[in-house]
């Protein structure tokens, strides 16, 4: 298992500024550096918003009983952007929300790093909770991102959200 067959899916073709422009415009982007939560929150400023709900998915130190050292996320950038744009558009139709922004990070992440961030604003509180959870679930189901866990015994394996 060599990294060269995944090199292209560990990094983003676009610049960081382009990534945040896409997030602001389409509501979803893929990023290969640390997620700047403040930059995303700034996209959700709205005087009509009484509720803001956000989710951060962080790399944790265990998966079931196994100690995790680090994780590497791989993504299919262009498909992810097309699918992410559709997810956010559908969320805005399904829920009474004002805006939603989500970003997924790829590349090598350490324990505690944020892998995915989803933020939603709405006039009232329940649509933000519902939309945030739905967007996260749909990202996990449909966005072409894969991850490999690395353990302290130097093993690694591909993970699946379906098992």
């Amino acid at each position: 298992m060599t990294d060269n067959v995944h090199g292209q899916s560990m990094t983003i073709k676009r610049s960081v500024d382009e990534v945040y422009e896409i997030a602001a415009r389409d509501g979803f982007a893929l990023l290969d550096t640390a997620i700047d939560e403040n930059r995303l929150k700034a996209m959700l400023e709205d005087d009509g918003a009484g509720a803001f709900v956000c989710f951060e998915g962080r790399v944790r130190n265990h998966n079931n009983a196994t100690q995790v050292e680090r994780l590497t996320y791989y993504g299919y950038e262009d498909l992810a952007l097309n699918q992410g744009r559709a997810i956010i558009a559908e969320a805005k139709e399904r829920f009474e929300i004002l805006h939603a922004v989500a970003i997924h990070r790829i590349g090598a992440l350490e324990i505690g790093d944020v892998a995915v961030w989803v933020g939603v604003v709405s006039a009232h509180r329940y649509p933000s909770f519902d939309a945030c959870r739905w967007i996260l679930d749909t990202i996990k189901a449909d966005i072409p991102v894969w991850k490999q866990e690395y353990y302290d015994n130097a093993d690694s394996k591909w993970l699946s959200n379906n098992g």
């Binding site: 995944h6 791989y74 262009d78 498909l79 997924h104 892998a115 996990k140 966005i143 991850k147």
Partner: protein
């Protein structure tokens, strides 16, 4: 390269399929009547992919597609193993 009866398709590989194919991308020259399921079957035999087609999704030109969709000369195709984002 391509005639009226053949087409060039760019295949993109990710995750375990990239491991098994030992590459990220390749271009294949196939008959124009080739379906997506036939295309995967040819590549599965070539690279000894462990996953049956039923476990995979497929994308054409960076959008998710149906296995029954037709492909055309110049398309890029990706077989998508179960995702694990979040």
């Amino acid at each position: 390269m391509n005639s009226d009866t053949t087409m060039n398709i760019t295949i993109l590989y990710f995750a375990s399929l990239a491991d098994e194919a030992n590459c990220q991308t390749e271009t294949v020259h196939v008959d124009t009547s080739t379906s997506l399921t036939e295309l995967y079957e040819q590549l599965r035999q070539k690279h000894h992919f462990s996953q049956p087609q039923q476990q995979l999704r497929v994308a054409i030109n960076d959008y998710f597609a149906h296995w029954t969709d037709t492909i055309h000369d110049g398309d890029s195709v990706a077989f998508i193993t179960p995702v694990a984002g979040g």
